[in-house]
Symmetry: C2
Subunit: 351 residues, 2 copies
Amino acid sequence: MSRLQNTLLQLKTKGLDGLIVTSDSDISYLTNYQSRDSLLFLSQKLNIFLTDSRYFDEAKNILDKKIRPQKNNGSLFEAAAILCCKANLKRIGFDENNFTFAQHKKLQDLLKKKAKLIPSHGLIDDLRQLKDQNELKKIKKAIQITKETLCYIQKFIKPGIKEIEIAGEIERYIRYKGASSSAFNIIVASGANSCYPHHISSKRTLKMNEPVLIDLGVEYEGYKSDLTRVFFLGKISTLVRDVYKLVHKAQEQAFSVIKPGANSKDIDLAARLIIKEAGYGDNFGHSLGHGVGLDIHENPKISPKSNTIMQPGMVFTIEPAVYLPNKFGIRIEDMVLVTEKGGEVLSGTIN
Amino acid sequence: MSRLQNTLLQLKTKGLDGLIVTSDSDISYLTNYQSRDSLLFLSQKLNIFLTDSRYFDEAKNILDKKIRPQKNNGSLFEAAAILCCKANLKRIGFDENNFTFAQHKKLQDLLKKKAKLIPSHGLIDDLRQLKDQNELKKIKKAIQITKETLCYIQKFIKPGIKEIEIAGEIERYIRYKGASSSAFNIIVASGANSCYPHHISSKRTLKMNEPVLIDLGVEYEGYKSDLTRVFFLGKISTLVRDVYKLVHKAQEQAFSVIKPGANSKDIDLAARLIIKEAGYGDNFGHSLGHGVGLDIHENPKISPKSNTIMQPGMVFTIEPAVYLPNKFGIRIEDMVLVTEKGGEVLSGTIN
């Protein structure tokens, strides 16, 4: 069944007559076409891709015949309201995590009392969790570029260079290797900076005998990657070495329990227990992982509170960590695909 | 008067007891501190910066004494609701263009009927329009880095290199010059690609005898820049040359009418008329300019429908353009500061 058919089936199940999609990645998923500032109107009889002159001509030739492009240079919401009225829809879904309060108000005002907007977050997210072969090909390519970049960047990791300069070298190289951009603000965290999970690459210069954590992802044809590696300059202290081994062991443990039918929280627990038993439970505050695809953070979540049953086709990160305040942090992040047999580590062995 | 005092005065004028601020740039403007995933609670008696452990310790030492940091690792909205109730606020402002529908619902549900959330978009935006000396210093530094980069990048503009590779060289260089990142997805548009105002840098290789448009901005200590230059490879056709001269003339005309008291739509008109009279009115579809500061697009808008009276301290782009479908596009974009005397072109003369 096509992605569109699947979505229309979901609408029926949830008692919705139509759906207004505004998220770029949701639209890209359903149309197989990347655009911005567009809107997708879905209903059982009529599916319209509202876009402006930048994308219209190209979309016309690419889109599935079941989705008709319509050129729109005015307000997307006014055009959408007209479509809703023409199709006589009564219950229309929208993503309450993607619509601003003002957008919802505008659309509901335009619809007057003829139709009601129904919060429907999660409807497309759930479908997007399961990647098809075409999507996996793009994700694998994004991972390949990331791995090559992590290999290339090693020659720059030396005392005196700034974190932000290493980020600059990465931003340059990924584009020569075929990426369209980085998938998020690249994290280069040296020394004590590595103990901040979301450190912003700074002007700090690298020093001898300290770890350098690099968290890097790229975008390839809309699909993302996300890997973290820790490099070492000079001597590695026993503490750093022991923590690194521990985090690595936690990751291996998580890998080993991934298979269809497993619960996401048990995968999180597998890694977390190893860290806890070593006495570092309080030094690993974030989730073990997150889905990656058209968005850098998507479903499934792999956390103590999550509750997703693993299915073949799911792709996510496994990124256990230990952060020692004012000292250093170690995080190892890889991407895994759930297969019929178990978990396939897409980013291969650590190098 | 401080930014905070100014904001509190605005609240009074609008009959609001408090304000919930969630936009990163609004928070940065009011606290003079850059963070993410934080929330600022404002009221006449109490001002609280809710943030997590990443930012708390640093913020503690930096923030103005009138804004108290509070560590928060749970839900920001739950913590904000508690503050609203404790302070017994009844009418609380929020930015309806920045809150998602779900966030508004969550906060309003938590407040129950004790308080009402009032859409207040524009309240801080209006204040942010007028830049102080400290802000201007950062904007000027961002512009300087951008200009140096446009100079540096010229040696890469030759046949055979891909658009995306030039973007990569830019991403690298700006970080060596002190920028923390690019301010938006850098546009490198060669040949016919230059006729798309928001072209995404692609794998197309540069060819002889065609224009290469580069639209580039960087971020420096939170503040942005935004400049566009067109470079030429080999021979320049008479048509390209004439259009370039025309766009340049339109920009000069706009510069000449900028002064305190002028209306933004008249500035737009000054440039637009020049282009229209030359017969290219239909080939310039977008606004003439937009404010730049903590956000890459902010107030004031300089468009046919805008209606802002110029005041000293406003900073915005002037970017007239002519796009000839399937042929080429020319856009020249500079940044201007409104001074007591008129308009000062911050990005200097074209080079």
